[in-house]
């Protein structure tokens, strides 16, 4: 496997250094940590939002640090949850006196490390709440197992909770709206190729030349089925059907659509997928408020994509459309006629 790296063990540190050098007006590094926060953190009188997880999902999560979204992002080793001491540093760096919300994707490691950090922060007198994103419908939801994984739908939680926090809302309010997004967002992914953790050197799994995995997770976790390679329209249909089956949308409902590339799939193919997704939603009378196509939550160089639908109401629509200035999500205010001014 060929990689453009210096030392496999140094990829996270060197990536973060490069990010800060590219965007010094948006993010800064908390010294001696793998934490990136807003250049002007902490923002006094604002609830701080912290997310994070293993690296290898760029631009998640540091790419969403900035005005209107996150205050801080913690980067673990590749596909490995960051440790509690690092998360604690992030919490302390973004605490502006109104408490901190942790946005956690539902993986055992992330949960334990973020929970321990939250306990340590509370012991230091910082109010901390946590929300757990579990949007992946490829996994059976169950009280007796780890449950559904958090994938690309997490970005909508960052955006909407971030917008509400920016308006000065309380920790409880920001937590409430984050949980509302989590209840209304569903995703499913698929993969054409595996990916290689730099320090491992070999792919974590294999997918045959003529196969694809439907429902695959963002670390290569197995999905629903391994099938023979199929046209983009069929794949889009499968993904949308699984998501809709779980969401029970009805004609007239309004959604935001996110077509997320996993790192090795060109935009061309993502747009081809979106073409079919839009047609399927229109067939069902579902209104598309806005569509995002690109790389938001990747899986190193894995080829594949995920489709995310967020059911909108007036509150979520307004917060989704609110301005944001981050590395990977930039948006000016949308005017009532619907055109976006960049």
């Amino acid at each position: 496997m060929k990689k453009l790296v210096n030392h496999p063990e140094a990829v996270v540190r060197e990536m973060l250094e490069g990010m800060v050098l590219a965007h010094p007006h948006i993010v800064k590094q908390v010294e001696g940590t793998t934490v990136l926060v807003r250049t002007h953190a902490p923002i006094q009188g604002k609830v701080g939002l912290v997310s994070g997880g293993g690296s290898g999902h760029e631009p998640s999560h540091a790419g969403f640090v900035g005005t209107g979204m996150l205050d801080g992002a913690v980067a673990g080793e590749v596909f490995t949850s960051p440790t509690p001491d690092q998360v604690l540093e992030a919490i302390k760096a973004v605490n502006g006196g109104k408490g901190v919300l942790l946005i956690i994707k539902n993986y055992s490691g992330d949960l334990m490390n973020f929970e321990m950090a939250g306990e340590l922060a509370e012991a230091e007198g910082i109010p901390v709440r946590k929300v757990i994103v579990n949007d992946d419908v490829a996994v059976e939801d169950s009280l007796y197992t780890t449950g559904r994984r958090g994938i690309a739908g997490t970005i909508f939680v960052h955006k909407i909770a971030g917008a509400l926090a920016e308006s000065g809302a309380s920790l409880e309010e920001v937590e409430r709206v984050a949980n509302k997004v989590i209840q209304q967002v569903r995703s499913m992914g698929m993969a054409l190729t595996p990916c290689t953790i730099p320090a491992a050197g070999t792919p974590g799994f294999s997918i045959g030349e003529n196969e694809m995995e439907i429902g695959m997770g963002i670390h290569g976790e197995p999905g629903i089925e391994r099938i023979a390679i199929a046209p983009a329209d069929d794949v889009a249909t499968t993904l949308v059907n699984h998501v809709l089956e779980d969401m029970k949308l009805t004609s007239g409902d309004r959604v935001a659509v996110l077509i997320n590339g996993l790192g090795g799939t060109p935009l061309m193919e993502l747009y081809i997928v979106n073409r079919k997704v839009a047609a399927l939603l229109q067939d069902q009378g579902i209104q598309i408020h806005d569509t995002y196509v690109g790389e938001y939550m990747t899986s190193l160089e894995m080829a594949g994509c995920s489709v995310t639908l967020l059911k909108l109401d007036d509150e979520l629509t307004e917060l989704l459309d609110a301005p944001a200035q981050t590395i990977a999500w930039k948006k000016e205010r949308r005017n009532p006629s619907g055109d976006t001014r960049e």
Binding site: G54, T83, G109, M112, I197
Partner: protein, 210 residues
């Protein structure tokens, strides 16, 4: 025979050697049913533990175990970091102030470690996790504290590890595989076995048959 603070140190050095030797194997096990980073993370964590222990003189087993737990917590990452970190920090409380521990102390420390892992990981025995080695080992030591056979303990740890192969994962990333996780060893149980194996080989100096 007592467990001296220097034995504990040797135990953890030996554990580190085993993690370095088995780094690729543990990672391969994790690639089969997890996300393929277990060996990398355990090797990094115990390497840091060894560095810390090499440069620190200890007379208190409790503070040695506490430092070990803190290093693992901040250097391993993933789910294993909080779980192994919690286990050592819980065990440290039992051994606080002791330069030499009895096998009864060891049993109590292992039990505390098990309680910590259960609380942190919200798991029970039989879910194809590291608990499937930790718990039987803790129980055996408590039941046989009077006359503990290290080679028998080692055999029990190995058998418990091997039994995870036929289990279906309910917790952790392997749970996504459901029935497809059967037939694979649980990587966390295998690294826990190396930890217990290192303990048994360190302590088994009485000449009893291995």
């Amino acid at each position: 025979m007592g467990i001296h603070v220097n034995d504990v140190k040797q135990w953890l050095f030996k554990t580190n050697s085993r993690m370095q030797e088995e780094k690729a194997y543990l990672t391969a096990l994790d690639q089969a049913i997890g996300d393929g980073d277990h060996g990398i993370n355990m090797a990094r964590g115990f390497q840091e533990v060894a560095i810390k222990l090499e440069k620190t003189a200890y007379t208190d087993i409790g503070s040695l175990l506490q430092d070990t737990g803190m290093v693992l917590l901040s250097k391993v990452g993933g789910a294993s970091g909080p779980l192994f970190g919690t286990a050592f920090m819980k065990a440290a409380m039992v051994c606080k102030g002791k330069t030499e521990a009895t096998t009864a102390d060891l049993g109590a420390a292992l039990q505390e470690a098990v309680n910590g892992i259960k609380l942190r990981g919200k798991a029970e025995v039989g879910s194809k996790t590291m608990l499937d080695v930790w718990e039987p080992v803790a129980q055996y030591v408590q039941e046989h504290a009077e006359q503990l056979s290290w080679s028998a303990l080692n055999d029990l740890a190995r058998l418990s590890m091997e039994k995870t192969k036929e289990m279906e994962a309910k917790k952790g990333r392997a749970a996504y595989l459901g029935p497809r996780s059967v037939g694979h060893l649980d990587p966390g149980s295998v690294s826990t076995y190396y930890l217990m194996e290192a303990l048994c080989t360190t302590m088994n100096r009485s000449g009893e048959p291995a």
